[in-house]
Symmetry: C2
Subunit: 229 residues, 2 copies
């Protein structure tokens, strides 16, 4: 990748490495070969460098993971959606959140296990979600719970999408007729619509969550009317 064939000992004329370069290379390798075949030696080889050189810019492999999380977190930060109607805003947020993972499946396992840093850009997005819900009448503590619940659903869905496609296949078991039938019918629907099983489930769950919120909201409106008259 790097033009030079071999480099001697000592500081090079132009700097070859940097923290961001290492992190981006690691992310590329993660997308290419999954979490195997991606070690410090692989990152170094791809940069035309010896492994020990990496440690001048990065403290450890965990540090590289942290860097990857930062990159992903900033990508989740999307264009402002706070101006949209509440339900459309949440749907926009959920979709863009999920697309980040969909384009980098192997990273999900890393992101899901360990959380973000406190100074992450992602809090700007959180702020918008809370604001949208608060504006619509939810208490802020409850809005935060809804935010966490939706995020859990999105992360769980991303993990599901990264799993092998035939993960739930019932095979030819005869003892689970309803499930087997459901699996077959979904396969047909998948073939028709073109949307993968994981996408269908994500849309179904997101619809349920929004419908549940709408029910809460209309119930609140009704009780206020009853109280006002």
């Amino acid at each position: 990748m790097a033009g030079e064939r071999q480099r001697g000992v000592g500081r090079p004329n132009e700097n070859v490495l940097s923290r961001v370069l290492i992190v981006e290379t690691a992310l590329d390798l993660l997308d290419l070969h999954g979490r195997d075949g991606f070690g410090m030696r692989d990152i170094a080889r791809r940069l035309g460098v010896r492994p020990s050189a990496l440690y001048n810019h990065v403290a450890s492999k965990d540090d590289v993971f942290r860097g990857i999380r930062e990159v992903i977190a900033t990508r989740i930060t999307v264009a402002p959606f706070v101006t949209q109607r509440w339900d459309e805003a949440l749907i926009t947020w959920a979709h863009s959140y999920r697309e980040v993972f969909a384009s980098h499946p192997p990273t999900i396992a890393l992101l899901a296990v360990m959380p973000f840093e406190t100074d992450s850009e992602i809090f700007g997005t959180y702020e918008q979600v809370i604001e949208v819900l608060y504006r619509e009448g939810w208490e802020r503590a409850e809005a935060l719970n809804i935010l966490v619940a939706m995020e859990s659903f999105i992360l769980g869905s991303a993990l599901d999408a990264a799993a092998p496609a035939d993960m739930m296949s019932p095979g030819d078991r005869a003892d689970i007729p309803h499930f087997s039938a459901a699996y077959a019918e979904r396969d047909m629907r998948t073939a028709d619509s073109g949307a993968g099983p994981a996408d269908q489930a994500f849309e179904a769950g997101l619809n349920l969550l929004i419908a549940g919120l709408e029910a809460q909201r209309s119930a609140r409106a009704a009780s206020r009317v009853a109280h006002d008259r």
Copy 2:
């Protein structure tokens, strides 16, 4: 742990190891020390055995992981809930599902990343979920999507529960007022109710999903009435 102090070379009088013993020991160590400090040598030491002896009963470390997944999967299989009313049945299922992870936090990262085997006992539970929804009027393909969505939510919530408690703390950032207020208000609610933040979010999300399902169900009932008259 094992009574004997030291054992010589050769097959022992009574068998010391077995696959299940190794898997259970691994699960214990995982709960005790997290995913660090738990390697083949640690498992062997705890069993009073040399590491190479493990490989007479287990193919690899991944094989041990598979064993752990099997154990967890069977624990998820709960008492039948198909006889309950549909919403109570789903709530029972979701709670028991989550409790398994709550009692073994470090295992979540293992379980969530890699899925279950096809011959797992967990399909019996899936069957019940599909049956409950189908009985209530949902198409089976849609029921499967709902099942997957709920499972994603449960897994994501379990991951959230295993994360550090202060993961989302806004610190003293002034640029996210709504979120900071929401965080403070939730802290008060947490102190009052005794339920942790992760539990609150889980309940909130589960309520939303059930409410969304109820909305779909009642809409279906209304349209059928309209069609019948």
